[in-house]
Symmetry: C2
Amino acid sequence: MNPSLPTEIRALVFDVFGTVVDWRSSIIAEGRALGGRLGPDADWPALADAWRAGYFGSMAQVAKGELPWMTIDALHRRVLDELLPRFGLAALDEAARDHLNRAWHRLAPWPDSVAGLARLRSRYVTATLSNGNVSLLVNMAKHAGLPWDCVLSAELFGRFKPDPEVYLGAARLLGFAPPQLMMVAAHPSDLAAARRAGLKTAYIPRPDEYGPGGWMEPVGDRVFDLVAPDLRALADQLGVP
Amino acid sequence: MNPSLPTEIRALVFDVFGTVVDWRSSIIAEGRALGGRLGPDADWPALADAWRAGYFGSMAQVAKGELPWMTIDALHRRVLDELLPRFGLAALDEAARDHLNRAWHRLAPWPDSVAGLARLRSRYVTATLSNGNVSLLVNMAKHAGLPWDCVLSAELFGRFKPDPEVYLGAARLLGFAPPQLMMVAAHPSDLAAARRAGLKTAYIPRPDEYGPGGWMEPVGDRVFDLVAPDLRALADQLGVP
């Protein structure tokens, strides 16, 4: 690590789904709670994975112009409505679908997230930089107690990561040059795009994102400024008590 | 007051300069600290008032298209550079001008603001809705300990209050209908514009904004949903312990 890194950096911007919150366990738990009221259990782990995969597919369609711009809430709902019949849940009514879709506003943080963010915030400006829409991120922060200085979202720029404008727009709104921002994420492709836009990068592998022993995005030949196992360890590496 | 008001409202959006922070005393104090290092004191109260007035004038020019869009930081600096010679401060160098301009990032809250906001945040989504740029508002919140859920700014919409798109854009980003938002401000014209956009309104008169016995924007025939002398009293009126 470059010894001058902690003082050059002024703001840390965080990917959220998978990096700060454990979306998969949360969605499975919300699904099971809902499914238990409906009768026989659906395969909620498989539904959670298919939902997440469908979200990436829909986001790519938006990026290519095959779908109009819409928020992640709208994308999530679109994917959910497609999936429910395949999982024996076609009977879910509008209120239940809306409740389930908003489970993404109620995701639980990884065990280190709140304490790590609080420490990092004591020295740096801390902001989300997620493809999740602003209201989702605000509701999640209130629900999970995530101490952001600022909620930044792809929604503010009308395009999704990894579009460079999202990273550059975050730097512009926070009033810093791109190298004064460090992107913190569990996904090498997100960090590679941030790096191409001039940001510093911190890789936080989250091996349990897709469940114990589950899939992880390969690192390939990507290089990061920092690698830390969690957000408390990131604070340690940056020398923030 | 409408007894159902507290439950209909989901988010409170706050004007900041004058409503939450005491810009005038802060600018005078920063100016005097700077002036003391330079030699004879300038008339900092008059400079603060002229600076604020010049800001309103420049913002109106942007709204009319006579000036290009720029952030409040840029507007403040433009006005400051015009004013300094008139106050015997033409010798202020670039570093001192930049430091003084960023005094707007370091404004002190009114005595009730931090405690009042913390209470209100326990029930409602709380966000800035200021013409100040995002970085100014983020830095101010860190400096003053203002506990926002979300920093919203005219900058996100490329136009200044009282343009209706600023109020409607805040509702859209927070995921609520306009009547589920309450605009909280010390300035009747801001509240009148929010009301025309469909928001609820809370008027917080700040008789000391322009100094003891100083100017206040006339209320005229404007009607507000709530009137409270400060943010703690607003929490009382909304029944938030």
